[in-house]
């Protein structure tokens, strides 16, 4: 995956570049808004990591310009401004995801991987399957090894999100944002409890677990061969 990091703080930019390389991606760095826009225009990037406040051209203006030019490269906006209104503004400008500084690298990585592999709306499957688990988005039916599994509406949406990102790490915050539409941090790890409930429904009576906990990061659903 080719990532363009548009960030004016050199240390942060190099930390991201190094970490992304260690995670097996290539990363270029642009130090200001104009340079970032020029590099993004040349294309070839799978995802842009864009700081909200940049010298020479504001982060929001970079996204707006790119979107106006028809570029559909997913953009993750990084910002020190974490209030509700700021996030709304960032997403309205054309950003695909919004992450508040300071952040954990694992969180950032999970989010850009999810963004880069996000299918275009028209390509979205109506049916997901991982191993012998399958989920039908139209009839809202879930089966494992042919046996129907009864899920609560929210559990269904949780599983749907996990399966949509099968093979990718999904963080607790991502789940809270996408399944519950909450952008705050509950004090207790409520997500863990929901996951363990879901796990007891889809994994409990089967030999091979599909829903895995990724230590220090989040969860992943995958056909547990590896």
């Amino acid at each position: 995956m080719r990532v363009l990091v548009i960030e004016d703080d050199r240390e942060t930019a190099h930390f991201l570049q190094r970490s992304l390389r260690e995670s097996g991606h290539t990363a270029d760095v642009a130090g200001d808004g104009e340079a970032g826009l020029a590099m993004a225009r040349e294309g070839g990037y799978d995802v842009l990591i864009l700081d909200r406040m940049l010298p020479r051209r504001d982060g929001l203006s970079v996204v707006q310009t790119l979107r106006a030019e028809g570029a559909r490269t997913p953009v993750l906006i990084l910002s020190a401004l974490g209030e509700v209104d700021d996030r709304v503004r960032g997403l309205r400008a054309g950003g695909d995801d919004y992450l508040t500084k300071p952040y954990a690298y694992t969180e950032l990585l999970a989010r850009i991987e999810a963004l880069a592999r996000r299918p275009a709306p028209e390509e979205q499957a109506t049916r997901y399957s991982v191993g012998d688990l399958s989920l039908d988005r139209l009839s809202h039916k879930v089966t494992r090894a042919g046996e129907p599994i009864l899920l609560q509406p929210r559990e269904f949406r949780l599983l749907e999100y996990l399966m949509k990102h099968a093979g990718q790490v999904v963080t607790r915050t991502m789940l809270l944002e996408n399944v519950w539409d909450y952008h705050f941090d509950p004090q207790t790890n409520v997500i863990d409890v929901h996951i363990s409930r879901l796990r007891s429904k889809i994994d409990k009576s089967f030999a091979k677990p599909l829903l895995h906990t990724v230590r220090g990061a989040g969860y992943m659903i995958r056909d547990g061969a590896d």
Binding site: G82, E83, D85, Y182, Q187, V190
Partner: protein, 493 residues
């Protein structure tokens, strides 16, 4: 002296003066006009009388010649009145008439004029009086002077004029005195406002401008200024509170973080130990970030800075969603979360913030009830319940979270009102310690409130939100922020 100068240069006085000037000018104009018209009228009257007399005398002359004229003049002169006559012949000798001599003002001219003449007064002495006279040439070298005494008229006009001047003078003096009095009283009240604001500017934010209770515009102005001061004081108080909170809530974990890193470095075991130290350092940093975020959010809410993302929301959905989020958590902790909501209501709020507030309340309730170290009830035994409900109360909705935990003893609540007093048993609990503070801030942002009640046993936290989004004004009208902030700290800690 300076007081007088200040008085004279005050706005009300200058306004009074300008008003007075205009008024006096108008009065003078009117009086002058009346005097001019009256004078004109009287003069015309005199002229008309003179002309009539001259015509009459001409007729007499034409009828009977010089003798007849002289006789008539002599006859009319003998009658008392204000008519004056003098008939002189070509040599300048007086033939008839009641004037002693030809007045110098008329002598030798063909035109009439005002002249003065002497006449015996009531006491016998001769007094000089004013008159108007016209010389008329009579054929035969005679000159007839017909005149009219206008002394009385003149006196009358003179006294009228004086009266006018005096009244204008009196008016001006009265006006200036009234102006000074008005300015002084207004100035004195403005001075009190100025004095009060000076003290306030010097740093005493608790001082207020005194009201005189009359409810007039200056009183209303003072009242509004006082309201503004209350808000400023409150904001500064909040700011101070936030900085105190930052100092307190961030320094402690920062110290811990530093100590941990130092301890890890100091240990000789090497890599594994460093790793452990780093992991713990990151955990500590994450906690710090959480606390910092909460503090910032509370500060921004206190400043009322998120109005943009308010929208109409069904409060039942907010409560139901939070209940759904926490229901498994409650169950895991051996409790039941019971929810009851009123349907069909609409609130204009920030969904995210209200959800977070309700979530914090539920989170606290679970945390505190679960911490009781009681054996987990087995099936069949009633499990402790957390009741989450949303009801409409008048023009507001109440979201209440009632638990069966240890609650907060009333005397502890009192003590908890003091800042930074933490109850012994709450020290060991996890959390940023800002949960209820945030709830209070969210409530205030939406014009609502939060209160803690005894649930006998347990604690009942009630979040009130007004149905109408009058939000800001309502919160701003209320001073004093946070008995609950301290309570919150103690509860959520």
């Amino acid at each position: 002296m300076t007081a007088l100068i200040r008085l004279l240069s005050s706005t009300p006085f200058r306004l009074t003066l300008a008003y007075m000037g205009a008024f006096v000018a108008a009065a003078a104009l009117i009086v002058g006009f009346i005097a001019w018209r009256a004078n004109d009228l009287l003069t015309n009257k005199v002229v008309e009388t003179l002309e009539a007399e001259i015509t009459g005398l001409r007729e007499q002359f034409q009828a009977g010649g010089a003798e007849r004229l002289a006789a008539v003049v002599a006859q009319r002169s003998s009658q008392p009145g204000s008519s004056l006559y003098m008939l002189i012949d070509a040599t300048g000798r007086k033939v008839a008439g009641n004037l002693d001599r030809v007045p110098a003002e008329i002598d030798g001219t063909a035109q009439g004029s005002i002249f003065s003449y002497a006449r015996p007064g009531p006491d016998g002495t001769r007094v000089s009086r004013l008159a108007v006279g016209v010389p008329v040439a009579v054929p035969g070298g005679l000159i007839l002077i017909v005149g009219r005494d206008i002394e009385d008229l003149h006196r009358f006009a003179g006294s009228m004029g004086q009266l006018g001047l005096w009244s204008i003078a009196l008016l001006s003096v009265l006006g200036i005195v009234a102006g000074l009095a008005v300015s002084r009283s207004v100035l004195r009240r403005i001075e009190t406002i100025t004095d009060a604001s000076r003290t306030i500017m010097a740093g005493d934010l608790s001082k207020r401008i005194p009201l005189n209770g009359s409810g007039d515009e200056l009183d209303r102005l003072s009242e509004n200024l006082n309201g503004m001061l209350a808000r400023i004081e409150e904001l500064i108080g909040a700011l101070r509170e936030v900085s105190d909170n930052i100092a307190h809530d961030l320094k402690t974990p920062l110290t811990r973080l530093r100590n941990r890193a130092e301890a890890a470095l100091a240990r000789p075991e090497g890599a594994a130990c460093y790793r452990d130290g780093l992991v713990k350092t990151i955990e500590e940093a994450d906690e710090l970030i959480k606390t910092f975020n909460s503090l910032l959010l509370i500060a921004r809410l206190e400043a009322g800075a998120v109005a943009e993302s308010m929208g109409p929301v069904d409060p039942a959905a907010i409560v139901a969603d939070v209940a759904e989020l926490y229901e498994p958590v409650a169950e895991e902790a051996g409790m039941t979360l019971e929810t009851s909501v009123a349907k069909g209501l609409r609130l204009v709020v920030n969904r995210e913030l209200v959800s977070q507030a309700v979530a914090n309340l539920v989170d606290n309730a679970i945390k505190y009830s679960a911490d009781e170290r009681r054996p987990r009830p087995t099936d069949g035994v009633a499990r402790p319940t957390i009741a989450l409900s949303m009801t409409r109360v008048g023009d507001a909705i109440e979201i209440s979270v009632a638990d069966r935990g240890p609650g907060v003893a009333p005397e502890d609540r009192e003590r908890a009102l003091q800042r930074f007093v933490r109850l012994e048993k709450s020290r060991s609990r996890p959390g940023s310690g800002l949960g209820l503070s945030l709830v209070a801030a969210v409530a205030r942002l939406h014009g609502g409130s939060i209160r803690l009640e005894d649930n006998a046993p347990g604690l009942r936290a009630v979040l009130t939100l007004p149905l109408r989004a009058r939000a800001q004004e309502v919160t701003r009208a209320k001073p004093a922020m946070s008995p609950f902030l301290a309570g919150a700290r103690q509860r959520a800690q």
